[in-house]
């Protein structure tokens, strides 16, 4: 009977997860009219500064070990917030790109496909980067590679801009700020 109960619970959880995802998909589709407003521009320069290993080295040299760990944790939390926003923006761009895939003209479809691919890559990198950041929060002295997220974000910005130009030359897209 124990096995039966475990399997019934597993099946119920699986069904709830699947129906939840299916429902959220339907809500996503119905609320997909004003996607661009959901994008939160990111200050890439500030982010670049945060992930710069030279900055970390400088702080490590200048600050006592205990203080360095506190500062480093603060920087890591800020980094996590940036990466989280970048990942969320990537998700919005996936949806925008997929919506644009239905367009008839070849250049727009091409640009949309490239945008979706880049956005997916960024979202994947953001997940890995967040994992590393949270690990680094536990060990602040360890190295951290968030550069792939930055590179992905820059690449994504180019794709989003190209799609924006092709779809509506008068109203371009912005996924980063303060440049």
């Amino acid at each position: 009977m124990t096995l039966a109960i475990i399997l019934v619970i597993a099946a119920a959880v699986a069904l709830i997860v699947i129906l939840g995802v299916a429902l959220s998909r339907s809500l996503q589709l119905s609320a997909g009219t004003n996607l661009a407003t959901q994008i939160q521009p990111i200050d890439v320069e500030a982010f670049r500064n945060l992930i710069d290993p030279a900055e970390d080295d400088y702080l490590r040299r200048r600050l006592p070990a205990a203080e360095f760990r506190i500062v480093r944790r603060r920087r890591l939390r800020a980094m996590a917030a940036y990466v989280h926003t970048a990942g969320r923006n990537a998700a919005v761009l996936v949806r925008m790109g997929q919506a644009a895939l239905a367009a008839g003209d070849v250049p727009t479809v091409e640009a949309a496909r490239r945008l979706v691919d880049n956005a997916l890559l960024l979202r994947r990198n953001a997940a890995f980067a967040l994992l590393r950041i949270y690990l680094a929060l536990a060990w602040p002295n360890s190295g951290l590679a968030a550069e792939p997220v930055l590179r992905g974000y820059e690449k994504l910005n180019g794709s989003a801009m190209l799609l924006g130009r092709l779809q509506n030359p008068a109203t371009p897209v912005r996924i980063s700020a303060s440049l």
Partner: protein, 256 residues
């Protein structure tokens, strides 16, 4: 009411499979079958095999061994086709995006291996019935198939959810129907096989399975044959900004 060979029992066994055959014919006629070949094969072959099992059940000339043999063959064919269908769903949802296709393939392989191990452990842990090995073996295999199927479907849904990928409508409907069917079947087969329930309660679960399958066939009808409401075609609205300036600054960032 919930008795074997009652009118409701006959309807719930035969009607969904006839409907599935009709659906198979319609999607073949409409050219949809070419886009979802594994689903087409699953719809036709599983309907035929279920109707063959039904015929074997009602024909007095068919002995129990032959009946369970037909059941085994049907389950094996259905199992193989379902896993081909998963491949089809996966490649259609993620295959065209290089950035996630490789990761997805890797993850789904590991999830599949883990689910096979769990299903094997569940079968090993289940109470054995040595007198009717062919029957209990069938039930364990069925439970294992539904367990692996449900797990893989949850993975596919969660993976696409994380990446916010919008599915093609038909594919979504196929996967949704399959998911509901496999989860309900997993729960009810777990209780039938391992719950130690009396026959009357087991029969209710059999009816639940058949009714769920009927609903899933109707879901497939809806998503495969009812056309999507035409969406208002509007360009994706994009916020105002100077992209050219952005591009210049980003180039400066990439090449300092």
């Amino acid at each position: 009411m919930f008795r074997a060979h009652s009118l409701l029992w006959t309807y719930l066994w035969v009607a969904p499979n006839l409907l599935l055959l009709i659906l198979g014919f319609l999607i073949w006629k409409l050219g949809i079958a070419r886009k979802v070949p594994a689903f087409f094969a699953l719809a036709v072959l599983s309907a035929v095999s279920e109707l063959a099992v039904y015929a074997a059940d009602v024909l007095p000339t068919v002995g129990p061994r032959t009946f369970w043999g037909i059941n085994w063959v049907g389950l094996l064919i259905e199992g193989v086709l379902k896993f081909l269908l998963f491949g089809e769903i996966f490649s259609q949802v993620f295959g065209s995006y290089r950035s996630v296709a490789r990761l997805g393939r890797l993850l789904i392989q590991w999830v599949g291996v883990a689910l096979i191990l769990v299903a094997t452990a569940a079968a090993a842990y289940a109470p054995q019935n040595s007198r009717f090995g062919i029957v209990s073996g069938f039930h364990f295999l069925e439970q294992a198939v539904y367990l692996i199927e449900s797990g893989l479907l949850v993975f596919i849904f969660l993976f696409s959810f994380y990446f916010h990928l919008v599915w093609e409508r038909r594919l979504f409907g196929i996967t949704l129907g399959l998911s509901i069917s496999s989860c309900v079947h997993l729960a009810s087969w777990a209780l039938i096989d391992n719950g130690g329930l009396p026959d009357s309660k087991r029969m209710i679960l059999v009816f639940l399975n058949m009714a769920t399958y009927h609903v899933c066939v109707l879901i497939w009808f809806y998503y495969l044959l009812v056309p999507k409401k035409p969406a208002a075609k509007s360009a994706v609205s994009l916020p105002e900004n100077s992209l050219e300036a952005w591009n210049r600054e980003l180039e400066r960032l990439v090449q300092p």
